[in-house]
């Protein structure tokens, strides 16, 4: 089944409330996906720095890790620890060096990177996952969340959504893909790295590959209609954009709400009911096989 939520703010005044809005939406979707939950928040950032989202085990000494990294990156990286995850900010021109150093720590995984994107996911009930990462206090411009009912791969933290396969790019998926093995092999040959056997990660990798070739997010989604076989409702994020795509059969549910302050997505309308001004929002069901895309840069 799985539940998806997403919110893209148009009104900067709402940015401090983004995490609280996303947390509330995520918890409502628990009955669609109680196995694990995850979310991405696009917060503050500048072009000179890269945020690396790291995942380890509970109680891991992230500070010790950061101290060891500071020697090579020419300063102490800013570190924010949240339970099993941490975000470190390093100068962009030191990213490769820091990644090389992190590769020497097999107990730490880099789960995402980008100028503004931070990614968190864990097994367990969405309410507990949101609480352990303190989602409700986060601020940002847009965010995406997912509650998972596992079908195609095991209930693990690595198998939880969102998946990120490129800088500032993330994807959540409700559905199941049938050609993911073939596609994964083809994408690996193109240099896309995969961390799991999960079908949804292949969809993320596919979009990353398309965008690497110069496609916009909208164009990459459009191409996905032809190349991805199976059931899907995707919500995807980039540094400045937010996109939605459903398969041509429209197997998986989707409801959207738009006001002059935000665009919101929910697998069900229930997820949207606590949003400000929802009573007067334009509430609609996205059409099958139709790319919906909002961009802050536009």
């Amino acid at each position: 089944m799985c539940g998806i939520v997403g919110i893209f703010l148009k009104d900067p005044k709402l940015e401090p409330e983004l995490g609280a809005m996303l947390a509330s939406m995520l918890c409502v979707m628990t009955d669609r996906g109680p196995d694990s939950a995850g979310f991405v928040v696009y917060g503050q950032g500048d072009a000179g720095h890269v945020k690396l989202s790291l995942r380890a085990t509970e109680g891991y000494d992230f500070q010790g890790l950061a101290n060891s990294l500071s020697l090579s990156s020419g300063g102490t990286p800013k570190l924010t620890v949240r339970s099993t995850h941490a975000v470190i900010e390093v100068p962009a021109d030191h990213e490769a060096e820091v990644r090389a150093a992190l590769a020497r720590h097999p107990d730490v995984a880099v789960v995402g990177s980008g100028t503004r994107m931070e990614i968190f996911k864990e097994t367990g009930l969405p309410r507990d996952v949101a609480a352990r990462f303190d989602l409700s206090k986060m601020s940002g411009t847009h965010g995406i969340g997912h509650t998972r009912m596992a079908t195609e791969s095991a209930v693990t933290t690595a198998g939880a959504h969102p998946f990120s396969t490129g800088a500032d790019q993330c994807l959540v998926h409700n559905g199941s893909l049938s050609n993911h093995n073939d596609l994964r092999r083809a994408l690996k040959r193109e240099g896309i790295a995969f961390a799991t056997d999960n079908d949804s990660e292949v969809a993320a990798g596919y979009l990353t590959w398309r965008m690497r070739q110069g496609a916009s997010l909208g164009e990459a989604l459009e191409a996905g209609l032809k190349d991805l076989d199976g059931f899907f409702t995707f919500v995807v994020g980039t540094e400045s954009g937010f996109g939605v795509l459903r398969d041509p059969i429209a197997c998986k549910p989707a409801v959207m709400a738009e006001t002059d302050r935000y665009v919101a997505f929910g697998s069900e309308y229930r997820a949207l009911v606590d949003l400000p001004g929802i009573a007067n929002a334009k509430v609609f069901e996205p059409e099958p096989a139709t790319v919906y895309f909002w961009d802050r840069a536009a």
């Binding site: 059969i249 549910p253 409801v255 309308y269 009573a279 509430v283 069901e285 099958p288």
Partner: protein, 234 residues
């Protein structure tokens, strides 16, 4: 809301189960004829399984299967409806003032479903006698395997309208993206104009559109019994 309700039920204050349970106890003798439901907030199965001549007016958007299995009741949704509104309705009248999601009126045997906005995919799938009037457009695979009843669409129809159709009668005023297997356009004769007039009167919409603008679609009746020449169409 013109008349004042006999019962107002606030779903922000009391659980849906309580409302549905109370509605299930209502009979033809009930004095509570007009129920008003506020704060539905997308809850599922609202007013499902009612079997009494009552009116239930819901202020807001509802979730899945609203008014499912309905008998006798008049259910009005002042908002959008989720998947499967009036699914398996037997009799009564369901009016969605916004849009309806997929499978509106699915498998329903009787009654009337009126949707002021659009209905998504599979509207009237396997309909068995219900009449459905959609003032907007319907999505793909609408009236799939429709057996009886009428689907009347003021706007357009998506892909594969009436696929594997039995004897449901389909009327579309706008364009049809494509017809499903064994569904063909048929002549709109006087008897069909009369039928349309009757259905629109029952829906409270007589005179709002020109009946002559509709096209009629029905079954070519080539797939009823298996024939080896049709194997590719199954």
């Amino acid at each position: 809301m013109t008349a004042s309700p006999d019962i107002t039920f606030d779903l922000a204050q009391a659980p849906l189960r309580e409302l549905n349970s109370a509605l299930h106890k209502a009979t033809g003798e009930t004095n509570a004829r007009l129920w008003r439901v506020i704060n539905p907030n997308g809850r599922h199965a609202l007013a499902a399984g009612v079997n009494a001549p009552v009116t239930i007016e819901v202020d807001g958007h509802v979730g899945y299967y609203c008014a499912g299995m309905n008998q006798q009741a008049r259910v009005i949704v002042n908002g959008n409806a989720g998947v499967g509104v009036a699914e398996n309705m037997m009799s009564g009248f369901v009016h969605v003032k916004g849009d309806a999601s997929q499978a509106a009126g699915a498998t329903a045997h009787g009654g009337m479903l009126v949707i002021d906005g659009n209905a998504s995919a599979r509207c009237g799938i396997s309909m068995k006698g219900i009449d459905i009037v959609v003032k907007g457009s319907v999505g793909h695979m609408s009236a799939f395997m429709g057996q009886a009843g009428a689907l009347i669409v003021f706007g357009d129809a998506g892909e594969a309208l009436g696929d594997s159709l039995y004897e449901a009668k389909l009327f579309v005023r706008g364009s049809v993206k494509s017809l499903g297997a064994d569904c063909i356009e048929k002549e709109l004769r006087d008897e069909h104009r009369k039928l349309l007039q009757e259905k629109l009167e029952a829906a409270g919409l007589a005179g709002t559109v020109d009946i002559g603008e509709f096209k009629r679609y029905g079954s070519a009746r080539q797939l009823y019994n298996f024939h080896i020449d049709n194997a590719g169409a199954y």
